[in-house]
Amino acid sequence: MNSTKLCWWTPFKYAVPADYENWFEEQALEGWHPVKVSQWSSFAMRFKKGEPKRYRYVVDLQPTPRKDYKRIYEEFGWEFVGQMASAYVWRREYEGERPESFSDMPSRRSRNRRFFWAVAASFIMLAVGALASAGAAVFAPTAPEKRLELILSAAFCALVAAALGVVMARIRKNLDR
């Protein structure tokens, strides 16, 4: 019996933080628990089959956490699952009432806004890249094959930027969750 599985591109698929948390929670209810969450997990995350558990997962983006960031979560009973770049993943087993890490609307919104701006930063970089390549293809007097290269690179940047744009719109729509 296959007792591990790989899930691809999970943070991109479930870009709304609350959706990502719920997805983790559903996995845990079926007994799937992430083996290790680290940098590469954003591309492929390995899960191992085990006991079904009721875990409340929380994702939080902290580019410059203070020294006691982890300590506070641990004090409140959260278990550190891992981190992908500056995205921290926490979980806590529960029965009855589902625990919250962001217990009021303003803090939930600012957590979601941090994710929004992280995606926006990549979006802007790619949009600038697309425009620069497109501009060079049109205006710079270059050889045809060079021009094709520039057009392809512009198209690629534009495509990824468009995907990020969709993600941004989804996060914005769900700022309250």
């Binding site: 006691d68 979560y73 919250e100 890490s101 217990s103 600012s110």
Partner: protein, 105 residues
């Protein structure tokens, strides 16, 4: 942050901010704040880790609270004179609201 700016930003303030400030009239660390607020409100307000961490960071960078010591990797905070001033003005505002609401069922 000067007091006028703090007024603009914090009056009125959210219930979370209010109770965090209120509980920091005594030195407390993150979990201690949550426990105290939970006790005060008979379990109605249970602050989460992310909310405490975030609000505390904001209050600290705006100069309403400050870190006093670190013990066992836990940071203890206490309200500053600016914070106390804001809290007292917010309390006056809420008392006024309370008076206006008297008699409403």
């Amino acid at each position: 942050m000067n007091i006028d700016k703090a007024r603009q930003r914090y009056i009125p303030m959210s219930e979370t901010m209010l109770y965090i400030l209120l509980s920091l009239r005594e030195e407390r660390h993150g979990y201690g704040i949550m426990q105290h607020v939970k006790e005060l409100t008979n379990g109605r307000i249970v602050l989460g880790a992310g909310t405490v961490y975030q609000s505390r960071g904001k209050l600290e960078s705006d100069g309403l609270i400050r870190a006093v010591r670190e013990e066992d990797r836990k940071k203890y905070y206490v309200i500053t004179p600016t914070g106390a001033q804001i809290l007292s003005e917010e309390a006056a505002r809420i008392r006024e609201v309370y008076r206006h609401l008297e008699g409403i069922k």
